[in-house]
């Protein structure tokens, strides 16, 4: 909690924003609508009991939330029994509540009571296709290897997802591709493929008229929804824990699908939907407007907030990268062996997939802006180190010897001759880093760093094109502006003498 408060304080002072009221409970949620709704519900229950709540919605995935929970960055988040059993506990534990609770307790995590619905994975097809081909169960798919599969990226990778499913049913389709869950429905509609994985409480099942195929071999484990708490938190704030647990057994599958439908297809905010549910099912006291969801503030205000978050991520990480990469590049150019090592190591860092790097940063920096800045810093190193090294290594020997022969010290030669001559290359490296950085920073939203990635993430989740563009266009504009800025900087910093004959 202290960490969180510090991090929030640091971020707020960086952004120069007014600090939010101190939150006593931090709720996390995954980046799909149901999880966000459950997160809002938990926040409402806490506030209803007279305590402060902060919701960090739309974090990247199970691993990110789990790490954030263990580290104390969040106190509670909604998850599913099957996911916990397979993804977190490696499939060595039965999915029944007692066994799961026991296994999680060893990791300092308390499992809440089931919320009352199951949201299992299932395989779905458009009703008309399924009817035409006479497909009712997953087994029936075996006879149709010509069908194309569009599966969500997470499903493709998960141990309880496609690898096991295709083995269990002997499915060998000709075409399988991975995509985002929210894009999958649109792909079905556009007939880019015929088969996809769905969640059984998805609002879209009704909306897109899908047939959910029967899991006739009982492959998919149970995915009972429940809250997951850090044990420290339960001990320290039993009232908050009890308040959230009032949701236990109150949400059945129909209710959950309706709540999802209200957000996704009726375009109501998660906060409003959650408030409606709480008002309907619990004795509540009057309260102020719920914690801000992604849609509540106006567009201008959102743009400003996301823009300042995005700029903060990019500026801090880039400045730090310049401060580190420039000396590294100079050392690399001076000492050939060490230089190869430096460039090799920095190059390997660059090959780490961005999402993986973000996840690695969580144990070190928690969630929010800091881990995103750290990851962007790492990505900015290579272009700057490499271009500094290249710029300095390619200087003509005659020029360098003349500088030494006139009596300049090594340091003076570096500052007065080498760096000015290598400046075009170095600046080009910094420019590359900045442009990559502006783009990659959109992924920061996955670990709660905000920025222009936030509206993109929410827009994809809610199938809201305007919202996606609200993030994508400013990010693109920012990249172009960064590029122009560095062109201007080059004109200012690079001697006109170096432009002659170019």
């Amino acid at each position: 909690m202290k960490r969180e408060a510090l991090a929030t304080l640091a971020l707020c002072s960086m952004l120069g924003c007014a600090s939010e009221p101190a939150a006593s409970v931090t709720v996390g949620s995954k980046k799909f609508t149901e999880s966000v709704v459950l997160g809002e519900l938990a926040s409402h229950m806490i506030e209803d009991a007279g305590m402060g709540a902060r919701h960090r919605p739309e974090l990247g995935g199970t691993r990110i939330l789990w790490k954030a929970l263990r580290m104390g960055e969040i106190d509670v988040y909604p998850d599913y029994s099957g996911t916990l059993a397979v993804e977190i506990l490696g499939g060595r534990v039965a999915t029944d509540h007692a066994a799961l609770s026991q296994a999680l307790a060893k990791q300092g995590v308390v499992l809440g009571k089931p919320l009352g619905f199951e949201n299992t994975y299932a395989i779905g097809m458009r009703e008309e296709n399924a009817a035409r081909l006479g497909i009712r169960s997953i087994s029936d798919l075996k006879a149709h290897p010509e069908l194309r599969y569009g599966l969500t990226a997470e499903f493709l990778d998960r141990k309880d997802g496609w690898p096991g499913l295709s083995r269990a049913y002997g499915l060998t389709p000709r075409e399988v591709r991975g995509l985002d869950h929210d894009l999958a429905y649109r792909g079905l509609e556009a007939a880019s493929f015929e088969v996809t994985d769905v969640y059984t409480t998805d609002a879209d099942i009704d909306y897109y008229k899908l047939r959910v195929l029967e899991d006739d071999r009982g492959y998919f484990p149970e995915y009972r929804a429940m809250m997951v708490y850090r044990a420290d938190f339960v001990r320290a704030q039993p009232e908050a824990h009890a308040a959230i647990e009032r949701l236990a057994n109150r949400i059945d599958a129909t209710t959950m699908r309706r709540l999802n439908y209200q957000v996704k297809l009726e375009k109501r905010s998660e906060a409003a939907v959650a408030a409606g549910f709480v008002a309907e099912h619990f004795e509540t006291r009057p309260r102020a407007a719920g914690p801000g969801s992604a849609h509540s503030p106006g567009r201008g205000e959102r743009l400003l907030r996301h823009g300042s978050q995005h700029l903060t991520l990019v500026a801090i990480s880039l400045l730090a990268a310049i401060a580190v990469a420039l000396p590294l590049g100079i050392v690399a150019a001076r000492r050939r062996r060490l230089g190869q090592l430096i460039i090799g190591v920095v190059g390997v860092l660059q090959t780490i997939p961005s999402l993986a790097l973000l996840v690695f940063m969580i144990p070190l920096f928690g969630i929010g802006a800091s881990p995103a800045i750290a990851a962007l810093f790492v990505y900015s190193l290579l272009p700057i180190v490499r271009n500094t090294h290249a710029g300095l290594s390619q200087l003509p020997l005659a020029t360098l010897e003349s500088a030494s022969a006139m009596g300049l010290s090594d340091t003076a030669r570096l500052c007065l001759v080498e760096l000015p001559l290598a400046a075009p290359s170095i600046l080009a490296g910094i420019k590359t880093a900045a442009v990559i950085n502006v783009g990659t920073a959109t992924l920061g939203a996955l670990i709660g760093a905000g920025g222009f990635g936030q509206p993109i993430l929410t827009g994809i989740r809610l199938d809201d094109h305007a919202l996606i563009l609200e993030g994508a266009i400013p990010a693109a504009v920012l990249a172009v502006v960064a590029s122009l800025l560095f062109d201007g900087l080059e004109r200012l910093l690079v001697s006109p003498g170096l432009r002659i004959g170019r």
Partner: protein, 250 residues
Amino acid sequence: MLELRQVHKSFDGVAAIRGVDLEVQARETLALIGESGCGKSTLLRMWVGLVEPDGGDVIFDGEPLDRGNLQALRLRMGYVIQEGGLFPHLSARDNTALMARQLGWPADRIAARVEVLRELTRLPAAALGRYPGELSGGQRQRVSLMRALMLDPDVLLLDEPLGALDPITRSELQRELREIVGQLGKTAVLVTHDLFEADFLGDRVALMREGEIVQQGTLDQLIDKPSEPFVARFIEAQQRPTRRETGATR
């Protein structure tokens, strides 16, 4: 003023300099001459500290060169190379003034000194503000010479300074260079492969072959009493065709 004592140098196991003894008196101009790869540039670069000998002593004004005194002694030498020696990011004026600024000379002293040198080297005033890329080859070498003379060094070390110029500019600069060196009374070493230039600019000529000095003396001594057949062959080759013709008109 300048001396080499039994210096040796190998590059990648190949002997480039094989035990050279050489002395240059104060105010004397010595021309080092020989075919390319004979080691004449390497000898010059030893005095300015760009090549460290494997054995032997490099002596500047009675002081053996070492890492400790190199930086200070370099301020007393002016070094000019064929091409690429000027800093492309600095104007002619800034190239010339760079080291004086580093040493903390006041601006007016620098400006006055640059002006003296500009007149001495006959560089057009407008060229001072230009970058090396905007200057002609001849102007670039004039600026190189200005830069080498900026701190009023005791010694000029000239490594094929006119090698990349067209014939007309080259002969013009040869005359001016002789005038300047003579007028300033500097000690100078000139590396060239052109016998005429060596004779024209040098008080004395040292002919090198494969890392050794074959013969030194005035050109007349080399012509009249070649120490070995190579000397005569080298001179003969250089005289054809230009030298014989110019010789005839002399």
